[in-house]
Symmetry: C2
Subunit: 412 residues, 2 copies
């Protein structure tokens, strides 16, 4: 791999409130070209510090991408510092000046003179036109290195990079085919996934394997590069099949789909509909299901039965049942699932009741105790869970467990 | 302010999938002590690159915080590199070795010998015990600089920093009182907020003012430092009051509360209850309301009426009304609000219907068209919105607008 580094400029990126995210986009695009990112540096709007960072970068990296600090204000120093460090005088680029002036005319605002700083270009630099803003990007080749200046707003940076940097980079780097594959796993801890698949991926060193703990489960990222597309595809397919054979139906997706999307696809495939009755998740399960465009084709809707009365009103849970067993109980979860299915006429009904905390727990029914039930034409099943973590985590884990119950039911 | 820099070590932090977040936590804590972060560097698990980064840091910063690379595997190099760069030989710390061994006994796992690398300590370093993991932190004073090594997992890093670094830092830095205040604004664009309050905050240069566009609205962060607590408090209060006077009731919170929390507080204060009937938001509004612990005291629940049948079943919306006006219409929004209030007996009922997209839009009813209605004992109001963005954004903006309608209703 070829070596790149990314420098993000902006004092706001050194506060607790903001984080550089452009580097994630740039890294993805550079990796796909076979260029690896070796360093990321975040530095404030300060000339001497930026000079130090840029000086170190030029000594060690062939590709340097700098985001931010190209705007019209006093704080924006990137252009001037780069010109100074590379010893390339700035001159005004007439075409860029015209574009900046035209942009102000178009939006009907008067232009303050400092905007013309954005038309200053270091000698020998190529201007990367910015269709979404006034500050253009700059492409500078210098003693074998390439230094690319990009504006900080992600929409502007991404459009300039995709439209004008990619083709330039493709001409300069050896052609590489890079393919990635994401396997998503549910219901297994990260350590177990790693332990079980390590013998497989260590035997395939040509593939870069990364195991990530995402909020919705474990993700296994596979990436391979080669000049030959067939080689890449077959080596990825081979490792992927071995991992699938090892982890079996704990893998719910091999094409990047979310669990909501997989469940939606199954529901469409089986011509089934779904309705939910939620207590402790408070609407989160319905919200996740309806994140999927087109979910109205199989999701009828649901009830957020936060109070006991609403459990009776919307899902027909008998008040005596709640009085006898408590709202957080197996029988109430079952009655929610059966009731919502009956009321709505859905093929599948889901009922969730539990203690999300922080208050409301007891010795017998601690925070994290959740019952989830699924009712369909074959009958009703119910599972008891003891989820760890805080209110938010318990609600998230509950909604995932419910989706997983639907997936397993529909897959069989 | 005193100058610090943060170095995050780990090859996974140079992929498109993972980002260093420890630095946000550290920055917040350091800022509160009057220490400013000047540089952040992210570097992979590579000795020569880490040596270069650490070498530059030692030359320019008084406080250096390094996270990651303290684990037991071959990849974990931070401890060795720091010892080498500072020229301090490593020796085994007996107490740390005992803690590591005891930890393995406690969890009933056998310890592989490489775990003992974590007991290696550079000469003169203080061990910062890690109660949540095996790798301890290290505190090293060297030629006037302080170098702190912390494990990468946030739970471990935060516990060690809060428990063992803060008190050490407080002894070393001049005492400074720093106070912050967050004003949250709803319904105004960032540029208008900035334009209206710029004259106020530029007249108060002793306060650091940051305007941030958060998903739920605009946030104005004020921060001030001084040796004198009364000075800090009064200058913050003065600017805060001026901003509140300028922006009026567009400010919904001055104490960091979310809009859900503000609405919840009003509902408790006025002894009111709430129920919702959602179509296009699919449960998101209920989910947000129930994020607040204790929301069961005022939130009865709601219906996710995704299909037309469920609008009739759960909120009593007449089928003819839907047939006449369409599901996305003012009358249906009103009927949802009135119906859910009546069915549940809540003081306030909210109805939402709209086109979240990407499909389902038409010339008359484009994607982004959303009607939100509020019914209470005074009657029913309904508002039409045209929200920009994708499905997710439209649903987010709809849920915020609904909460804002409840806030304004209860405030009056």
């Amino acid at each position: 791999m070829l070596d790149a580094e990314i420098i993000a400029v902006g004092s706001e990126l050194l506060t607790p409130f903001r984080q550089d995210t452009n580097s994630l986009y740039l890294t993805e695009k550079l990796n796909a070209l076979g260029i690896e990112v070796r360093f990321k540096t975040i530095v404030g709007d300060d000339a001497s510090r930026l000079i130090a960072v840029l000086g170190a970068a030029i000594k060690r990296s062939k590709w340097i991408f700098i985001s931010g600090g190209l705007g019209p204000t006093e704080d924006d120093l990137t252009r001037e510092v780069v010109a100074q460090v590379l010893n390339k005088p700035l001159h005004e680029d007439a075409a860029t000046r015209r574009r900046i002036e035209a942009r102000f005319v178009r939006v009907g605002r008067s232009m303050s003179p400092n905007n013309l700083r954005q038309a200053q270009v270091p000698e020998g630099a190529e201007v990367l036109e910015n269709k979404n803003g006034t500050a253009p990007g700059l492409w500078i080749e210098h003693e074998g290195a390439v230094i690319v200046l990009l504006p900080g707003p992600p929409r502007e940076l991404e459009a300039i990079f995709a439209g004008q940097c990619l083709t330039r980079l493709e001409l300069l780097v050896p052609k590489t085919i890079r393919r990635t594959r994401v396997l998503k796993v549910i219901g297994l801890p990260e350590s177990e996934v790693d332990q079980r698949i390590a013998p497989l991926y260590t035997a395939a060193p040509e593939i870069s394997t990364t195991i990530l703990a995402a909020p919705s489960g474990i993700e296994i990222h596979l990436a391979a590069s080669s000049a030959d597309e067939a080689v890449v595809e077959s080596s990825l397919a081979e490792l992927s099949e071995k991992i699938e054979a090892e982890l079996g139906d704990s893998i719910f997706s091999t094409g990047g789909e979310t669990i909501e999307e997989v469940v939606g696809r199954y529901l469409v495939l089986r011509s089934k509909t779904l309705a939910v009755a939620e207590s402790c998740t408070g609407g989160l399960l319905a919200e996740r299901i309806t994140q999927v465009p087109g979910s109205s084709n199989y999701f009828l809707g649901g009830a957020v039965c936060y109070s006991n009365d609403l459990k009776t009103l919307f899902a027909g849970v008998p008040a005596e049942l709640i009085a006898e067993h408590g709202a957080v109980s197996k029988p109430v979860a079952q009655a929610l699932a059966i009731g919502i299915r009956k009321r709505t006429g859905a093929s599948i009904g889901i009922g969730i009741t539990g203690v999300a905390g922080p208050a409301g727990g007891s010795e017998n029914k601690p925070v994290g105790l959740v019952y989830i039930s699924l009712a369909d034409e074959h009958g009703v099943q119910v599972r008891e869970f003891r989820f760890p973590g805080d209110r938010d985590r318990i609600r998230q884990l509950s909604s995932i467990a419910a989706l997983e119950m639907v997936r397993r039911r529909l897959r069989d």
